[in-house]
Symmetry: C2
Subunit: 280 residues, 2 copies
């Protein structure tokens, strides 16, 4: 048994802590967060046992789990690696290339495990945490071969407690793939929300007709700007590529409608239906 | 008690028939469809009692419910109005301005009720029908004042059987509002599916990381091209307007990332969060 520290006590950190406590995988959970209000909430909810500083966390815990926004991880990771001894630092952030390049030559690189749990909701903060958030979802290990074997094994035993499947990728693959199947979905939702909110100003009443289709495509627009702005910053090149492609595809649909080329429009929609192959 | 005809035995028509049968609101349900295979399926599922031609439907039924694609409704409606006596024709299509302009001077206009049930799924065909599809959803009556009082009352009693809420609009309002809260959601999903399917060709493996967020924003891309192409055709002007606005908003997000203006990006995301006001 051992102590665990959660750096960033929000949706992801809280959900990890809840599950590890439920499974009695650890003794005490220490919470570190720049927001004292969030730490107090996390204590009240009960998924942490103590508030701590980063230094206290390193001193008292075997595992340090980074679940802060990715820009905070980029700042914290080198500091933690400077101080680390036999502890394991697990980075659960949504982007990996920049951070792994930054620490690639660090003498303690082996203590760092880059693992991205592909799970979430549109809500954020300690109240959003759910003990079964990760069940049957994918944990992506990035550059796992650069972690010490014991550090990787300990991380993998946590993944097992979270009841997740696993996958291995390079940092480049990871950041490209997440741009296409996670980051872009958030951008299209933000854009859709802005589009309709803009129209409401002149038209009113417009949301009276909003049904489940609209709700489904727009729900990610409730996601936190504090979490997502750093993700787009860290994954800028890939995100710009996918945004450009997405605008091109929207433009192609628009051109078909503009030109009243309904054969072409039908063809594009039918082509998009191939997504049935992927999602049930 | 009376007979009812369903013209177009798919998701919407089947769901209406199932509920009316469950509530014992009608004697027999007659199904009319250009696809004999769909009629056979509808008979097997049991939401229609007989296959029929349009003429038989008019002869034997008090209520004719149009749930075919909107281009088929545009073709059928004037023919039905030429032949109608005291029957009621209920148009449940997703666009209203063109069809209502087309029949506005017809001597039998009063027998026509334009009602759009704001409900659906990404699936189509008789197998997709669900008896509780409409429960607590909105039935939008369009230009209800142009329908005969008895025709409207009979339609409203069906709406009641379907357990729906109601709203009244002009045809212009209806077509603008649906462009913004229904039609555009489908277009953004089609574009997103096309974007990611395109990338898969060169990248492979990309869907391994697809989670619930991606699924939510892309699920409408499973929708039928036969149903949706005519909707975009009939609502072309509004759809082009909203597509243009949506591309503008995506471009604004892209510009902020391109220019590394993360203050602006944060501001846009925060603004889009106002959608919380609308969807729970």
């Amino acid at each position: 048994m051992m102590n665990i520290a959660i750096i960033g006590v929000g949706l992801i950190g809280g959900s990890v802590a809840m599950k590890l406590k439920e499974k009695k995988f650890c003794d005490q959970v220490f919470g570190v967060d720049k927001s004292d209000a969030n730490l107090t909430k996390a204590l009240q909810i009960g998924f942490i046992d103590q508030k701590a500083t980063l230094e206290e966390a390193l001193e008292k815990c075997k595992v340090i789990i980074l679940t802060a926004p990715v820009d905070a991880i980029i700042t914290l990771a080198p500091k933690l690696l400077d101080l680390v001894k036999d502890q394991v630092i697990i980075d659960m952030g949504s982007t990996k290339l920049n951070i792994l390049q930054l620490i690639s030559e660090h003498p303690n690189r082996g203590r760092y495990v880059a693992a991205h749990p592909m799970a979430g909701t549109e809500y954020s903060g300690p109240e959003a945490a759910l003990p079964n958030l990760f069940k049957d979802k994918m944990m992506v290990y990035v550059e796992a071969f650069k972690s010490d074997e014991d550090a990787f094994e300990l991380t993998d035993s946590i993944t097992e407690q979270l009841e997740m499947r696993t996958s291995f990728m390079t940092a480049e693959e990871h950041d490209t793939h997440t741009a296409y199947v996670s980051h872009i979905s958030h951008l299209t939702s933000f854009a859709l929300a802005l589009t309709v909110l803009e129209k409401e100003k002149s038209q009113g009443r417009i949301f009276e007709l909003a049904g489940s289709g609209f709700e489904s495509t727009v729900r990610l627009a409730k996601s936190s700007p504090d979490m997502w702005t750093p993700i787009f910053k860290q994954n800028r090149v890939n995100v710009l590529e996918v945004l450009e492609e997405n605008i091109k595809q929207l433009q192609a649909l628009k051109d078909a409608i503009q030109d009243e080329n309904y054969t072409q429009l039908h063809k594009l929609i039918k082509k998009s239906n191939k997504i049935k192959r992927i999602i049930k």
